[in-house]
């Protein structure tokens, strides 16, 4: 019995159960919500969030109050860069991917350097970086038009690729498999958990803690950049601050996936479920016929309710 209970308490089981429940509720409220086509549409949106959350996930797993508030800025920046490099031509896709990854890695590197060398708390460093990125976005937008997505990229994100499933969902699944492999089967992955649960012990065991942490922030920047590129494919052209919403929702997806904000505990599979859960919730709220105000109130209250299922802090004991 206790085995069953502990299985049911696992965050990913909770998230999957909530996903099924929400899909059922959505189907009740507006028939067709849980149809195959609609679920694929929700999965496309979820994969964008999920890719950002992959980077957020490793940063949070790395501990020491690890968090990356700059991801939203990187997503926006990457969408603009991609739009300008490819500018509606398929030939420009590869250079665009390269440019976005370089930009994401660059800002991740800056974050990592500030956090490790100057020992600035991640929250402060990435918050400041978000301000810089937002300023940079204004500069870029004033100087050049926003650019267009290449047709092939838009097809990849919105049209079926194999077995009727769009390419971005396959990409997300591939990222999920890679992340699970990296976290569970590689030295690098084990080191992430090591520095996240006890940085000092990891250091004593010979883990290059600073390099690891810089790498984590660079990974986060690069995932955000990939998401920005895909977001451009999704919307066709980029607009101001498209990525802003991803900053805090990516953190919530990680939390809903059962990764502790204290670091060292959790994984990406749960985060994928968390991202999907969040997107379904938003999807239900947009189909329900209520005001924007009511929608926001219900969304906020539901988020709080759902958080009750996850990693609540321990009660104080003497």
């Amino acid at each position: 019995m206790s085995r069953v209970m502990s299985f049911l308490r696992q965050p990913i089981v909770v998230a999957l159960a909530l996903i099924v429940l929400l899909l059922y509720l959505g189907e009740l409220m507006s028939p067709g919500f849980a149809s195959g086509a609609q679920i694929l549409r929700l999965l496309i949106v979820a994969s964008l969030l999920g890719i950002v959350a992959a980077g957020q996930n490793v940063v949070i797993l790395g501990g020491r109050e690890g968090i990356d508030l700059s991801v939203g800025g990187v997503v926006s920046l990457s969408a603009i860069i991609a739009g300008n490099v490819m500018n509606g031509a398929d030939i420009g896709i590869l250079p665009a991917i390269a440019a976005c990854l370089v930009a994401g890695a660059f800002f991740g590197l800056l974050n990592g350097l500030g956090i490790t060398l100057l020992r600035i708390p991640p929250l402060v460093m990435t918050l400041g970086m978000l301000g810089v990125l937002q300023g940079l976005l204004v500069v870029i937008r004033m100087g050049i038009p926003s650019g267009q997505a290449a047709p092939a990229l838009s097809r990849f994100v919105t049209q079926p690729l194999f077995f009727g499933v769009p390419g971005i969902i396959w990409l997300w699944v591939a990222i999920g498999i890679l992340m699970a492999f990296m976290l569970n089967r590689t030295v690098f992955g084990h080191r992430i958990y090591a520095i996240g649960s006890n940085e000092h012990a990891a250091y004593m065991a010979g883990v290059p803690v600073r390099l690891m942490r810089i790498a984590l922030f660079m990974i986060s920047g690069m995932f955000a950049a990939i998401a920005g590129l895909c977001l451009l494919g999704y919307s066709g052209s980029s607009f101001a601050n498209v990525g802003e919403q991803y900053t805090l929702t990516s953190i919530i997806a990680v939390v809903f996936g059962g990764t502790s904000l204290a670091g060292g505990k959790g994984g990406y599979t749960g985060t994928m479920a968390g991202a999907f859960l969040l997107v379904i919730l938003q999807g239900i709220l947009t189909t329900v016929n209520i005001d924007e105000s009511g929608r926001q109130m219900v969304f906020g209250a539901t988020l709080l309710l759902l958080m009750m299922f996850y990693g609540r802090g321990r009660a104080m004991r003497a």
């Binding site: 402060v124 204004v138 500069v139 100087g143 904000l261 105000s293 958080m307 009660a315």
Partner: protein
Amino acid sequence: MTEIATSPTYRRAGGLRILLERYPFLPALAIVLVLLALNGVFSPNSLSYRSLTGLLSTYMALILLAIAQTYVVYAGDIDLSAGSILSLVNVAIVVLMERWGGGAGAVLLALAIGLLLGLACGLVNGLVVAALRLQAIVATFATSIFFTGLALYILPVAGTPAPTIFWRTYGGRLLGLPFVFYILVGLVVLLAVLSRTRLATQLLAVGDDQQAAYQTGLPVVAIRIRGYLLCGLFSALAAFCITGDTASGDPLVGGKMTLFSVAAVVLGGSALSGGWGTVVGSLLGALTIGLISSVVFFMGTPSEWQNFVQGLAILVVLMAGVLAGRRARP
């Protein structure tokens, strides 16, 4: 030998370090003075009595919001809903004032209700974070969505004007001195009183080591809730100032201010991990943010570069705030 071994930390402490330890907001003050000087260099007019009063009345809301944030940061928590509480109180008082006719009595009654509303929001945050033990960052983000929804319900679109008597008083003069001056004096007195209360010490104790605070018998949950109550109260006061400054209601006015309030707290040398900080530092931190945008403007930065230069400058002073704050800690 042992005596020498135990005392060097005190021996080595130079005059500067002692000064920093006693007045941890000194680096923030220095930054503010440098920025004021820069303002003066680029535009001598900006140091006039009139301009400074204008700067103060524009940034009084951010100052109060930063102070609100400081009390939760004291206890090692954070409030990402402070800006949305500000928006909510802003639209609530504007709508109430309008509905009740905009007389002096209506204004005062609306303000009283605004304070209660701020406290109620603070209570919600406190219960969610301290009593239900949800993670402060994500939980207050969720409540911020809820509060924003409530603000949108009260006033769906920006624009309802505040009564003339309200913004005339805020932007006007009393006995020959600008009204914001009285607000500042009142604020300083309030902060001085609060810093001498047991609550300030208890918040810092909880932030420094929650377990230790609990074991010495402090009611940790109640103290953290009180921290959020103070935060709600000061967010409501900040809403009064923004209403006086913009003279209208806007359900999204505070959204961008939350992260600035966190930045101001860090600029003031307080530790986000809790247990260390000053409200005066946060006040100066908020002024720093205001002065940076004014310097960037007066420097003649091309308009499209202003946000970037401002963001870069804030990042640099944030780092300076963290480094100086760490130096100051005993």
